[in-house]
């Protein structure tokens, strides 16, 4: 969940425009600036276009407002499984044909599933955009979802889970860390799903998910590259315009319940080196939808959220930069070099997500360094920020990198599309990308210190430790991630653990 990388990726445009979208029979451009032009089809589908005429290629992405955080226990992973099934054919184009057509036309394609979105994309020569839109419109409404295909594909997904998580000690630790950190937030569940849920998932679950969430009024088309916006609008209307709308369920609010003290787990699996993750519950940028709910007095549950100022999330991004914004930042300077207790150490935070997130510190301790010493050192870094203002030079370096990064990002058309697609799908106005740099530049040293004091507290902390077991021969059925006796999870809640009290040498 490294949101920083994404949120920072923006091309800044000089105009900030109104963002009211309206439905219209004819493609009507609500507004246009240097970066994004948008309009809405009469069935509710949103179209966003970024013209970029550097190379004769185009990126086309269809984003759906559905992902793992929309799921509930028992069907975890269904969003991702459905994403796989989207390549399994319609009446018009049988299984595999979508990929064949794109390939024969010199395109690349793929899809990805996150907590808050599912998206499908093609990269292709700009005169082949129409083909992509035709195929995407077809599978938005006409997917076959046959059981025989499902039964094979679910096995592929299980192999994917084994590859990405079960056989990777650090990934497995991260999965269990998330599961322990969040109490009721949907982010506690892995995107790929629990293995038992994959074992029991049926084609009917996938069909139901498709029927519920895949409709033009729950989707956004983003096109970036060497195209004219008016051509995209015309083609989008031609192919998506006739698709029927559907009644999209309104998600109930799912605010993380208040945490009452530091939570700790250990993951003991065959491995060679330990690993430490420390995550503090942290706010994300407020969505309009949530703000409205608040006004209606429906937000009693979000007890982790105290009153939140708009600048706080930007200050948290700068805080992550002070700790880990490059090789000159504090974690490298103090822990990898300086004290030389960490082989590597990092900090990550991302301000754009549907739900409350985590400000995460992580480290691989050096060979002779106890994990307690590593934890103490990270806590000391947090304490230092809380008690001493970061100096101006440090902040300037963080900001210089943000400013440069927004120029470098123009080198990737794919990223430009991705950024606005993600913001829009999460429920944030894509215009915030244009304000990002200015808001970062406005963050003061005092604000960085304030958010550290407010959010990096023991009451918000979860600590996960990977404790390596010996790697013995594999014939003993010692299967990480599946055999639960191999993973010990102890979740203790202690109210008082003060930062300095946990030192251990």
């Amino acid at each position: 969940m490294n949101i920083k990388a994404i949120a920072g990726l923006v091309v800044v445009s000089t105009l900030i425009l109104g963002s009211v979208l309206y439905h219209s029979e004819d493609p009507t451009v609500e507004h246009s600036d240097e970066s994004v032009q948008s309009f809405v089809l009469s069935n509710g589908m949103k179209i966003l276009v970024v013209e970029n005429h550097r190379a004769p290629v185009v990126v086309s992405q269809v984003w759906y407002k559905v992902g793992a955080s929309y799921e509930h226990d028992g069907i975890t992973g269904v969003s991702h499984v459905l994403e796989h099934m989207m390549f399994k054919g319609t009446e018009k184009h049988p299984a595999g044909e979508f990929s064949e057509i794109i390939a024969a036309n010199g395109g690349e394609e793929n899809a990805f599933t996150g907590q808050d979105y599912t998206a499908y994309f093609q990269k292709i020569a700009n005169d082949r955009l129409e083909l992509c839109l035709e195929l995407e419109a077809d599978r938005m409404h006409n997917l076959k979802l046959e059981e025989k295909e499902f039964l094979k594909e679910i096995e592929v997904v299980k192999e994917e889970r084994r590859l990405r998580t079960d056989d990777k000690p650090t990934a497995l630790t991260y999965e269990r860390f998330n599961a322990a950190a969040y109490t009721n937030s949907p982010y506690r569940r892995p995107i790929i799903g629990w293995m038992e849920d994959l074992d029991t998932l049926t084609i009917d679950d996938a069909r139901q998910w498709y029927k519920t969430w895949y409709a033009p009024n729950n989707a956004t088309l983003v096109v970036a590259g060497d195209v004219l916006a008016e051509d995209v609008f015309r083609l989008a209307k031609q192919y998506f315009g006739q698709l029927p709308t559907s009644t999209i369920p309104r998600l109930k609010s799912r605010h993380e319940a208040k945490q009452y003290g530091t939570q700790r787990i250990t993951v003991e699996v065959p491995a060679k080196i330990p690993y430490l993750i420390m995550g503090y519950k942290a706010p994300v940028m407020k969505r309009t939808e949530d703000a409205n709910q608040n006004k209606a007095g429906k937000n009693e549950a979000g007890q982790n959220e105290t009153r939140q100022e708009e600048w706080e999330v930007y200050a948290l991004e700068v805080l992550a930069g002070v700790l880990d914004g490059g090789n000159s930042a504090r974690l490298s300077n103090n822990l990898v070099r300086g004290q030389q207790i960490a082989n590597s150490a990092g900090a990550s935070y991302g301000m754009t997500a549907r739900h409350e997130t985590l400000f995460v510190l992580s480290a691989v301790p050096n060979d002779d360094v106890a994990i307690e010493v590593m934890e103490f050192a990270l806590r000391e870094e947090v304490n230092t920020i809380k008690t001493q203002l970061p100096d101006d030079k440090e902040l300037e370096r963080v900001k210089a990198q943000v400013v440069a990064a927004q120029v470098y990002k123009q080198d990737s058309t794919f990223y430009q599309a991705m950024e606005i697609g993600m913001l829009d799908t999460i429920g944030l106005p894509w215009q915030i990308k244009d304000e990002y740099v200015d808001k970062i530049l406005a963050v003061t040293a005092e604000q960085v210190q304030q958010v550290a004091n407010k959010y990096l507290t023991d009451e918000r902390l979860t600590v996960a430790v990977l404790e390596p077991l010996p790697i013995e021969n594999g014939s003993d059925e010692n299967e990480p991630g599946k055999n639960h006796s191999a993973v010990s999870v102890s979740k203790s809640v202690s109210k008082s653990a003060s930062t300095g009290a946990r030192r251990g040498h």
Binding site: G106, A125, E159, V336, A400
Partner: protein, 443 residues
């Protein structure tokens, strides 16, 4: 909000993404090239759209030059920014990051890379280039930094032992390349890192980080004269030195070999392969095109069709040729849960034998050529990709019209070329098979 999972598709991306068009004429960037006074080769492409510049300097100083001290190339490369011109690691990092410059250091099999991405506004660019020059020409190799980075490498080597993929990869290279330098992990081994010395690092730098052994690629929003000045500023104080001698040839395998390594993972990680092709190889295009429909094109490849789509046995299955200065590997790879290991491996080998014997179907080949040529513009649609491409062209002494002629070279490959190349170059009866995972008894 990062994309938590990029879901479908997989590893051989770098191989199957070189492609082009049947009807449209693709405008390829024109590479300007010259040699510096002290002997470095320069390739430059102006890219006026974005106010930024990429410079990448590639030395023939990769792991292939470790000469028995595996890890030496990586350690030397990594230490350049850990003390130079009297500055500490911290001061060097601050120099770059205070102007928003991004540096890159990397050492792989053939190449050692030093590079920077900077804004072209002169107050930033001048500083970034000066800092890069210092790490390139005046590294101090302080003993403190040497010890620290060596210790970090030792821990990384240890970490590889918890990854079945890394264990399988190392075992595969060892078996395929025998006593050739390509056999040894560029990251080093426990033993080689114990034998490491600071003198070896200094000696390696002095011998290989010289102008005659350097290729410089430049892409960005500058004029030719500016590119010349920047290159001069960077390189003129580097000794001319000598171009390195050729690497030994990679020997062909004489017999099949299967290596099974016991590991407590839920999947078996499998590699099957042999020495493959090299840059400038006369069969390069034939083999490249041949691999595409077999296991190089993701969803439209035979391996994915059979192993994944038909049987649901693996998430990721692929084949690739990894062309290097000398013969790099041809490899097929996949992971599958323990109980399915033999079934998946049999299918993989059946497909290989069939393909080498019969080659691609005509329409398969046509679809592949269409994909390769049609997607060629995607491989050069950003400064970053273009930089990587031209650095490769310069480093491997490929013709300067490589980009212009790529499409016609791919189109010129016919079924006969492919069938002959496959039979001549791939030997299913003499391949290395590596399986890392739980060993099933009585089977």
């Amino acid at each position: 909000m990062v994309i938590n999972k990029i879901i479908r598709k997989m590893s051989s991306a770098s191989l199957f993404c070189l492609l082009s068009f049947s009807t449209a004429v693709v405008a390829t960037p024109q590479i300007q090239t010259w040699q510096t006074e002290n002997g470095a080769k320069v390739l430059f492409v102006p890219a006026p759209e974005i106010p930024m510049l990429d410079v990448r300097i590639v030395f023939d100083a990769g792991g292939a030059r470790d000469a028995g001290l595996s890890g030496l190339a990586v350690l030397t490369n990594g230490l350049l920014s850990e003390g130079a011109a009297g500055k500490t690691s911290q001061e060097i990092a601050e120099d770059f990051e205070s102007v928003g410059a991004e540096i890159e250091f990397d050492a792989s099999r053939d190449m050692a890379v030093v590079g920077v991405r900077s804004l072209t506004e002169s107050r930033y660019l001048t500083s970034a280039i000066e800092s890069l020059k210092q790490v390139l020409t005046l590294p101090d190799f302080p003993v403190e930094a040497y010890q620290r980075e060596l210790n970090r490498m030792k821990l990384s080597v240890k970490a590889r032992l918890q990854s079945p993929a890394a264990i399988a990869g190392d075992a595969f290279n060892k078996a395929v390349f025998g006593d050739h330098p390509y056999a040894f992990p560029v990251a080093g081994t426990k033993e080689s890192l114990q034998d490491m010395t600071l003198d070896a690092v200094r000696g390696f730098y002095e011998k290989y980080y010289v102008a005659n052994n350097a290729t410089i690629a430049v892409v960005g929003n500058i004029e030719r004269w500016q590119a010349e000045e920047i290159v001069k500023a960077l390189i003129s104080e580097l000794p001319a030195g000598e171009k390195v001698p050729p690497l030994p040839e990679v020997k062909q395998l004489s017999e099949a070999q299967t290596i099974s390594i016991d590991f407590p993972s839920s999947q078996s990680h499998i590699f099957v392969g042999q020495p493959g092709t090299k840059r400038g190889d006369e069969d390069y295009y034939s083999l490249y095109v041949a691999n595409h429909p077999f296991g190089g094109s993701g969803f439209s490849s035979r391996l994915v069709e059979v192993i994944r789509e038909e049987h649901g046995l693996a998430y990721s299955v692929y084949s690739y040729f990894s062309p290097l200065r000398e013969l790099g590997a041809f490899a097929m790879g996949m992971q599958t849960k323990t109980e399915q290991t033999q079934q998946a491996l049999s299918l993989l080998n059946e497909e290989l034998i069939k393909y080498v014997a019969q080659g691609p179907e005509k329409d398969e080949l046509a679809a592949s050529v269409s994909n390769i040529t049609g997607s060629f513009p995607l491989t050069i649609d950003s400064n970053g990709k273009l930089l990587e491409y031209i650095a490769m062209i310069g480093f491997y002494d490929l013709p300067m019209d490589h980009l212009d002629r790529f499409i016609e070279n791919v189109r010129a490959v016919d079924v006969t070329d492919i069938n002959e190349a496959l039979k001549r170059r791939l030997h299913p009866d003499k391949m290395v098979t590596v399986i890392v995972g739980k060993q099933i008894k009585n089977n």
